[in-house]
């Protein structure tokens, strides 16, 4: 890990809303002495007093391009109406170390929680430098000056803009211990401010990966082995003769066709006949095989993830015993923007324009494919048309780099929807077996869980990603064990919004409901009885019960189901109100969410994240299923991998519990509890326990 040295640079910079160049002041890279020793963010103040705050995290809809600048602007005492942002790759000067290690990834709901303090310090330090510059210019005491709304005002009411002071401020030493504001004085942090990126989105001006334009750019369409693990055996390059394609080249596991238009390239790609070497074991692989293998894996001991007390002895003594098996399928990310990347490779350098969650990974694969030094590689992040974990991967980057290298011109790779659906890194299929013992009026006395599925950290000592949400339990249970069996089917798997919790919270929260039923108790009261030692979780559960008027659904004939999820330091409880009509049709009317995520930078963005996560998770719960036949994915587009549309979208109501704790993440926590909240409601409505997802596999009548 490199430690950044302090330096200050003048920058010629163009700021939004201006034409031409203005001389601005750049502050940073920024040294942080605390646990984030090399957080670096650039701040530019133009002469006309616009402040541009660099955002070194991927903007994929979660709102970092507004929330991160809000943190800086608060301490800087900036005029929010004249703040804008610029996206930067989390690389070099913008490297961040912290909760995500040195990976430089936007993921794990960590952007706010890892950057909150560093960005406050940065804003405060920049403000102090501006005040000092003003004091020196006017020959007054700094204490006689007030910074507010991007102006500095003297006690005599004389005032000056930040922009007019930026150059002088930039010559000053960076204060080591800038004075932070008392949170009670916050006027930007905590406000539901409009997002900075919306005005461009609604005019079609935002530049997503697919929208990048580079002079002389060509386009590439790809065809990858339909069977996982297949390699190109043979293709006839002469196939492009007589077509509009300019080049055809082999890429890892497939072929890229390059043309002056994406549509032309795609048309030629559709007519390609490519022979692939298919791994024998993959040729016959089906979802049925995977299911059987998971069942078999569950019968093996696996590795112990957790042990509390003596669950086996406690189980033997339990008067009530319950067992259940749960199953979840592979899932695709299906971001609205398919995989895309633009690369311009020359013998000396490479530029990459890409919607990515991991600029550092982009840099690394570019280096590997060009042999260039990282100092010759520029990564320009674009807006992401959805990420959800898929755009951490770099398969599409490699393709663009190889294609550009081959043709000597900039190339933009765009995947067709079918390529995107069939060449994802899927949320892994899993099975889990749970056993519970209930004592006489003592609640759960034993919990024994085992899950089996592909590992996200294969070969690792302990796969905390795949077991997140499975262990530890959110509840107090005196005797408990959890085991995990690693399975491998050769199907690519990856990070899918909320990762292991996406399946594990379904297992755990369904089973808690089953235990409550076996104990003859109300599911919400039963949960509360196992949360007596955790005030925050209990408070969230009580709040959601109030919001939903637990036990008294609004819609006649509807039923309610509850579920709880944890992510980082955040706690979320959901209650879904669901009807199942006489024809077995399921309708999710309303989803109530009570969230404790510590302090909040922008409450509206937090609510939007929860609303969106409920829809994302509900889509998976209701219909999401990627199935495998002959080693290939059956689904190809939104007709056979449907997403929720307006007509089936429930109303999501969110309450954020007020907290003085430091902010925690919110991007993922809304996903895991919705499946069990809905299936628990279906049980309450019909007496049918949904143990397999998606729910569309069942017929209720």
């Amino acid at each position: 890990m490199e430690i950044q040295l302090t330096r200050r640079t003048f920058l010629k910079t163009t700021t939004l809303g201006l034409t031409g160049l203005t001389l601005g002041c750049s502050i940073g890279p920024w040294p942080f002495d605390r646990k984030f020793s090399n957080v670096t963010v650039w701040l530019t103040i133009s002469e006309d007093n616009w402040i541009t705050i660099m955002v070194p995290k991927a903007e994929m809809g979660q709102g970092v391009s507004t929330a991160l600048p809000m943190i800086v602007a608060e301490e800087l005492e900036a005029d929010w109406t004249k703040v804008t942002f610029a996206l930067r790759g989390e690389l070099g000067d913008y490297s961040i170390s912290g909760a995500m290690g040195v990976s430089g990834i936007t993921g794990g709901s960590t952007s706010i929680s890892t950057m909150f303090e560093p960005l406050r310090e940065m804003g405060a330090a920049a403000k102090e430098m501006l005040v000092t510059a003003c004091a020196q210019r006017w020959q007054v005491e700094p204490e006689s000056l007030t910074a507010r709304n991007s102006f500095i005002t003297h006690s005599t009411m004389r005032s000056i803009t930040y922009g007019a002071l930026a150059e002088e401020a930039n010559l000053l030493p960076i204060p080591e211990n800038p004075q932070l504001k008392d949170p009670s004085a916050f006027s930007i942090i905590g406000q539901p401010l409009d997002r900075l990126d919306t005005p461009d989105h609604i005019e079609g001006r935002s530049v997503f990966g697919t929208d990048v334009k580079v002079p002389e750019m060509l386009y590439a369409a790809v065809r990858q082995s339909p069977v996982f693990g297949g390699q190109v055996a043979h293709f006839d390059p002469s196939i492009i003769e007589g077509t509009t394609a300019e080049a055809i080249l082999e890429i890892p596991g497939g072929v890229a066709v390059v043309a002056k238009s994406y549509w032309e390239a795609e048309k030629v790609a559709q007519s390609l006949e490519i022979d692939f070497h298919i791994p024998e074991e993959m040729e016959a692989l089906s979802s049925e095989d995977i299911s059987q293998q998971l069942t078999q894996d569950l019968s093996t001991p696996g590795s112990q993830v957790r042990l509390i007390g003596d669950p086996i002895a406690a189980m033997e003594s339990a008067p009530i015993k319950v067992e259940a098996l749960y199953v979840v399928p592979f899932l695709a990310h299906a971001a609205m923007e398919p995989m895309t990347c633009t690369a311009k490779v020359t013998p000396e350098s490479c530029e990459v324009w890409v919607p990515t969650q991991g600029a550092r990974i982009v840099q690394a694969v570019t280096r590997a494919n060009t042999g260039l030094d990282v100092s010759s590689i520029e990564v320009y992040p674009t807006h992401l048309g959805g990420g959800f974990g898929r755009k951490v991967e770099s398969d599409y980057v490699t393709q663009a780099v190889l294609a550009s290298k081959a043709v000597g011109k900039p190339v933009k790779v765009i995947w067709s929807r079918q390529e995107d659906m069939q060449h994802d890194y899927y949320r892994p299929a899993f099975k889990a077996e749970l056993k519970g013992g209930i004592g006489e009026s003592t609640g759960i006395i034993s919990w024994i869980g085992k899950s089996a599925g592909p590992s996200l950290m294969a070969g690792g000592f302990f796969d905390f990603m795949s077991t997140a949400g499975f262990s530890p339990l959110p509840y107090d249970v005196p005797n408990m064990s959890a085991h995990y069996v690693e399975s491998d089917f050769g199907v690519p798997i990856g990070w899918w919004r909320s990762i292991g919790s996406s399946q594990n919270v379904f297992f755990v929260e369904s089973f808690v409901d089953e235990l409550a039923g076996a104990a003859g108790e109300d599911p919400l009261t039963f949960r509360g009885e196992h949360l007596k030692n955790n005030e925050r979780r209990l408070a969230v559960l009580e709040r959601v019960a109030e919001m939903a008027n637990w036990g008294q659904p609004v819609v006649p004939g509807a039923a309610q189901g509850v579920a709880l999820a944890l992510h980082g330091a955040s706690v979320l409880a959901q209650i879904a109100e669901v009807s199942v009509d006489s024809g077995g049709e399921i309708r999710v009317h309303t989803v109530y969410c009570a969230l404790d995520c510590g302090g909040v930078v922008n409450p509206d963005i937090v609510e939007a994240q929860i609303e969106g996560a409920v829809i994302f998770g509900l889509t998976a719960a209701l219909y999401g299923e990627i199935t495998i036949e002959n080693g290939r994915v059956r689904q190809s587009n939104f007709h056979d991998y449907p997403l929720i549309t307006m007509i089936d979208a429930p109303l999501v109501k969110t309450t954020i519990i007020k907290s003085d704790a430091r902010p925690s993440g919110v991007g993922e926590i809304g996903v895991p509890p919705i499946a069990p909240a809905v299936t628990n409601a279906i049980f309450a409505a019909t007496g049918h326990r949904v143990r397999y997802l998606p729910i569309s596999l069942y017929e209720f009548s």
Partner: protein, 152 residues
């Protein structure tokens, strides 16, 4: 083959394969990238444009079929209702990643242009565009806000 097509009240002459879909002509030949590619089979709505005022997918429409129809894209959506829809999108804080939103805005403008007071059912029926970020309830609120303003 050369085609002259009317996009946002201006004629553009493009020399392309007659089979090339309007979406890619807009994006590659005319340089307007606000209209998005996502499914390519006309079901997700990301590529929605107006053809003579009717909201239609542009990813499945061959350029040779555009003929004299007037094409309106998000970049040229400046009608009174279109502006109101865009403003409501800001007020209701609809957008997340933003990729599908040009298509959603086109579809909502089409709905409100033909029905100034849409019911929930009308909204459900017309607003079939996909949004992976799950902004549906805010889209619904924004449409209702515009309707309220129209009918004041």
């Amino acid at each position: 083959m050369k085609f002259s097509i009317n996009v946002n009240r201006k004629f553009y002459t493009v020399d392309v394969d007659p089979q090339k879909p309007l979406l890619w002509v807009l994006r590659e030949d005319i340089g307007m990238c606000g209209t998005k590619y996502s499914c390519g089979i006309g079901i997700c709505g990301s590529c929605t444009v107006f053809l003579d005022g009717i909201a239609s997918p542009s990813c499945t429409l061959k350029v040779e079929s555009v003929g004299r129809m007037k094409v309106t894209t998000i970049e040229g959506l400046n009608s009174k209702i279109g502006r109101s829809v865009k403003e409501a999108w800001i007020e209701e804080k609809v957008s997340q990643c933003g990729y599908c939103q040009p298509g959603q805005i086109m579809k909502a403008t089409y709905l409100l242009s033909n029905n100034s007071d849409p019911s929930d059912e009308d909204i459900d029926e017309t607003m079939t565009n996909l949004c992976r970020c799950g902004t549906y309830q805010r889209i619904r609120s924004a449409i209702k806000k515009v309707a309220t303003n129209i009918n004041l």
